[in-house]
Amino acid sequence: MNTHVLEYDVVVVGGGTAGPMAAVKAKERDPSLRVLLLEKANVKRSGAISMGMDGLNNAIVPGHATPEQYTREITIANDGIVDQSAVYAYARHSFKTIEELDRWGVKFEKDSTGDYAVKKVHHMGSYVLPMPEGHSIKKVLYRQLKRSRVAITNRIVATRLLTDATGRVCGVMGFDCRTADFYIVRAKAVILSCGAAGRLGLPSSGYLMGTYENPTNAGDGYAMAYHAGAALSNLECFQINPLIKDYNGPACAYVTGPLGGFTANGKGERFIECDYWSGQMMWEFYQELQSGNGPVFLKLDHLAEETIKTIEDILHTNERPSRGRFHAGRGTDYRQQMVEMHISEIGFCSGHSASGVYVNERAETTVAGLYAAGDMAAVPHNYMLGAFTYGWFAGWNAAGEVAGREFSPLDDEQIAAERQRIYAPLERESGLAPAQVEYKLRRMVNDYLQPPKVTRKMEIGLQRFEEISADIEEMKADNPHELMRAAEVRAIRDCAEMAARASLFRTESRWGLYHHRVDYPQRNDSEWFCHTHLFKDEFGKMTSAKRAVEPYVLPLDNDESDAYQKLRIGERVSAPAAVPESA
């Protein structure tokens, strides 16, 4: 195989949602820069929104919501563990991002007066803006990339970042998943936008690629950031989502909720007040699922034919369009039956929860020259619009920072080590199949890390993940495609270890189901009203530390601070732990 050495001022790794925006904005700020968008799949159809998206979950549209109200609500929804400066920066920019996407040709629902048709799904404010024709969003982004003259390479699997003598990130290494060619890309700044760690847990179907997240998002970005020395924040706040059982599509809150659909128990009764995804909501969902009233269903059979047709039109053409085929195969018709639901496998994703690479309001990580945006960057509940907005910040700020900067010299030792690591599975005579190693690893993630979390189980999990490290050294790849899967297994293993260690560190329960520890069942604000940061210490060891929550920019009112503790219908009294007004 050949080696290619490329040079770009700014390299964006991951061309899904945040990545294209970052690349376009870097070029917009400084058209003289050479900007590369490096993608594992193909930019035309990559990432979480490869088939489009049916709506914005966190649109802050003047007249419907304010940035202040939104920032407060997300602070509450994330149990107070929020650096408000980062959320507020998103919130203030949110409408500007919408207007830009609108100009580019993304279609949002508008009412008869031309105003955005915002719906209420969250517990307190109204932030949901439907995109019934959102299936073309990737085409719109692609057009902008071409227009901005961003360089694109597809089918390159990034595996490690290069760092210089000062610890600054100065490039990316990886390989082509079709030719196995080795790539060294020198850069003055790198933006990671590699999506969630979506292949961490195994779906309960046992089907490896039946994940909620696009399985291309295997956690590569989390692993690369970690090994480059970046801090990752609140990883124990897992992503767990309510999904259709055996099918990885979400359904209820954002699309069907405003049209009258709701989450019901086995008796067809509503049991939660608000379907917006939060740890508390998932906790109630899980309780109902395990109870005599279970399982949980999506209820639409009470709706009028016209409404059901609208729901089908949206759900069966956007985001996860094979859903209609799945229902047909099971003989499920929204008109006749409730749809059985279940909970997803665990993952890291700040787009939905809060687990990601630490970034400030400029999208900077803790490592010089390294930015992160999108699902993998820790801005809680950031969703698609947050990915676009933080992609914008990352691209804009990186472009400003690299102006006039020189390339750092390459470190031959790092390159040789990575080359050896990447190609070992291809060079081995015989060995374990990457898919089998992945299956076993992810099955153990389920066995030992899936909440409710138990200390001893997580410790056993760590031991097992250590043993999987040895198995990884025995993997054999038959071709470049399998070599890609082998590289992903290593990233997944790193994420599994991070998930276990982060969860063990926080000895309390918080964020509902996301971090429910059976042996520390209470929320403990006196010791744990803080972020946790996980990072590689000076001895190369995985370490965790507490980091104080930044003083709130927008203090909370006492009566609103526990709103997300009261999600179960009929139980409005108990809610012991209120969020302090500031850290």
Binding site: A41, R45, S50, R155, S205, T216, D246, N248, F326, H481
Partner: protein
């Protein structure tokens, strides 16, 4: 005599199938191969037709949607059906 490693391959039915009468890969089309996020499709060079090479489908459907002749069909993988 030493023990030598021996592999067994598990059988699986491809959830993505191609109507070879409609497929125009022989005319140079590679759309379905290009758009698959997991890089699962390939062109059989002896026939000049697209086929599913790897069994790792996310049933996301760009291959079916973007095929210019409607030659690709995505079914839900058997384990999830």
């Amino acid at each position: 005599m030493s023990y030598t490693s021996h592999e067994i391959f598990q059988r699986s039915t491809a959830p993505v199938t191609v109507d070879e009468d409609k497929c125009i890969a022989d005319k140079g089309c590679t759309v379905c191969v290009d758009v698959c996020p997991l890089d699962l499709l390939a062109i059989d060079l002896s026939k000049g037709k697209a086929f599913m090479k790897f069994d790792e489908c996310w049933y996301c459907m760009p291959c079916e949607q973007d095929c210019p002749t409607g030659a690709v069909k995505v079914e839900i993988p058997y384990l999830l059906r």
